[in-house]
Symmetry: C2
């Protein structure tokens, strides 16, 4: 299915305003030290003109950020309806004795500005774990934040959730259902402590499509499984991960309340947004110089394909080889071999590709002769593809990651300062 | 239990000779390029004066090196008796169409020199995956290799199995059983593609204790679980991992054939050797500057303790923080939180320690105030300890790893050349 790609991120869909400000949780830009972050906002907001059916998926980590606890409670109180989001970066508000209290306070502050109830606010935080969240800058910043909300404020919001991200991540598409023009747009933040098996990172997705909460949750669960959960930067599952999908119905399509052709269209559009945000997250992984996309084909079932593709993406050794532009395919096959899945290793084929070409490096589980020169040429690209074929079925899946670099070590050897 | 620590590695026990030579699989020392390896041997041998009861544990990777296949077959043929080991480094002889043939040839070459049967030889290889093993250098090198076998040749053998290792790893102890003086000694190689869930790396352990094969296997399985399998350098499970334990009975102790006090003594001695080799492997992890030892206490059962300790050791983010000497304990708690085990995260305590002191950083799942200066002082050590207390039981376990450094990336960005 082809979709019209739009600018506008979380403001692409009708009736969503957004904004971001610098309130003082991050160090001032001039004092950023060696990180020289290309952004300074640290407090963001999204507000919908109409109440939104809202669904989330959360981290599976036992340590859960206080904002996750509060957001869950709020959605329980309202029966899954929200009207706004408040989010800060640089401090995760996690593992703090007063975390829940502070997260609730953030909801109250936002609600007071917007004239809504605190439980109608989604709250999220990202950044350092275990440092007390200063509420004063947020209390002072929330007024200009709300006052500046606009239908074109998506970029300000998208930069407010960045931590070690080097670029903002936004994507939006337009599509038609039963004659109604609908839009889905989202923003996401990376770029470390990212690993499958949960909803990775902070992601906010807005749509003006009318979709019931049950079907919204079903769509989100299905698509998370094959997008964010197929992403790994460093194997660490964050404590604050959340994907939040808000639908305000302003597109006036015939509401989706069950499986239907429209629901399939909606899911395809949601996949388009989430898969593209996933790739942006992978490409901007901490210290990354190259995006790696691994597709596993010829599998008995989709879960096997996901498991194998993720195993390759997660191999630190292979990630280093990609950084070094070394066609060390043995490390790919090694990672295929330790993936917890059932298949015959002696039927496995491996190809490496990029915009500069494609080569076969392994057939039936054994190496084949290939030109090291051609391999070196292919690996010069900043987007490297790996195709694994298990040759035992017809299912496939993709996973995304990035190379492991000196800068990853540098960023994470000195993150708190 | 206290053991007398000996030099002598695999030659410490009575009746074991060893040797190592440079045969030409590695590049000549002068041509080592930027790796400047401090060793040049690439072919090693161990030979026992008497037949040995022999047990192994192997990698769980579906991709298994050809030497693993051949060693398994040999031990089946002889009913678990071996007389010698031949091992090469720099080439793993894995994923090659002629791998089994070459591994069998290595056994034949060794057997011919020693006047034994090919199936009485244990064969192992370590190095690059998927490059054809050149047999000519081995055929030429095996004669001087066997001719030079000696009761003090342990160091030559220990250096012959090194790849990116910067130091050889040997350990041996002496102990008494029923008045008989017994010895166990071993050698091991690291130092990348190392991850729990199998017998990590190549390890050869020799003993002159008389122990039946069944009890030998039982001892090895038990101790591997709490030593090598609690080690992670980079999360990658190698294709060629093997731990081989050979017992020739020359100590003339009353043979161990069932659970007994002697068996407990033997296991304690085996633990001593294997735990110390494990620490050496961790400390010499690729690019490592610091050893990390994580002990998890207060657990309902040992498996929980192992799972949690390994999760912390495996966190790339925490490993970077240790390299940067940053007391970023939130990353420890994050890794505790995503460990697949059942416990109450709100009861978890975390301490960080070294020879320079100890500090509490987390109590009941929340941060506590601590002196950053003292933390910085503690983290200057090259051996960092982490103690996790789940406060829900009496079992404990340790896991070992190392920091993640620029050099790890450098070594693995350019390993094949």
């Amino acid at each position: 299915m082809d979709f019209k790609v739009l600018d506008g991120g979380v403001c692409a869909a009708k009736g969503f305003r957004a904004n971001g400000v610098y309130c003082g949780i991050k160090k001032p830009a001039a004092d950023n030290g060696n990180q020289s972050l290309p952004h300074k906002n640290d407090l963001g907001m999204i507000a919908s003109d109409e109440p939104c059916a809202t669904v989330c998926v959360y981290t599976t980590n036992k340590v859960k950020g206080a904002p996750i606890t509060v957001t869950k409670r709020n959605l329980e109180k309202t029966g899954g309806i929200s009207k706004a989001v408040i989010v800060n970066s640089k401090n995760a508000n996690t593992c703090n004795a007063d975390g829940v209290e502070k997260a609730e306070k953030m909801c109250e502050l936002a609600a007071a500005q917007l004239g809504i109830k605190p439980q109608e606010v989604i709250v999220a935080s990202t950044g350092v774990i275990g440092q007390v969240l200063p509420i004063e800058p947020i209390a002072a910043g929330v007024e200009p934040l709300a006052a500046g909300l606009s239908y074109t404020g998506n970029e300000e919001a998208a930069t407010a959730i960045m931590t070690t991200d080097t670029v903002k991540k936004e994507y939006a598409v337009e599509f038609e259902m039963d004659g109604a023009v609908c839009r889905i747009g989202g923003m996401a933040k990376g770029s470390g402590m990212i690993h499958p098996n949960m909803a990775t990172t902070l992601n906010f997705i807005t749509t003006d499509a009318a979709v019931s909460r049950d079907m919204l949750q079903k769509a989100l669960d299905d698509i998370v499984k094959i997008t964010y959960n197929c992403l790994s930067i460093d194997g660490d599952t964050s404590t604050n991960d959340m994907v939040c999908l808000m639908a305000n119905g302003l597109a006036k399509n015939k509401p989706i309340a069950q499986d239907s052709d429209d629901f399939e269209i909606f899911k395809a559009a949601l996949y388009e947004v989430m898969a593209n945000l996933t790739k942006m997250l992978a490409k901007d992984g901490e210290g990354a110089t190259k995006l790696i996309e691994c597709e596993c084909r010829g599998c008995r079932d989709t879960q096997t394909a996901i498991t194998v593709a993720k195993s390759v993406i997660g191999s630190t050794l292979f990630k280093c080889a990609v950084f070094g532009e070394d066609a060390n395919w043995g490390r790919i096959l090694c990672a295929v071999g330790y993936a917890p899945a059932e298949f015959d290793i002696n039927r496995v084929d491996v190809d490496i590709l990029s915009e500069y070409g494609e080569i076969a490096v392994c057939r039936n589980g054994a190496g084949v002769d290939f030109s090291e020169e051609k391999a070196a040429e292919i690996l010069k690209s900043d987007e490297i593809g790996v195709i694994i074929n298990l040759n035992c079925g017809s299912c496939s899946a993709k996973a995304w990651g990035c190379d492991m670099t000196y800068d990853y070590v540098k960023i994470n050897g000195d993150y708190r300062t």
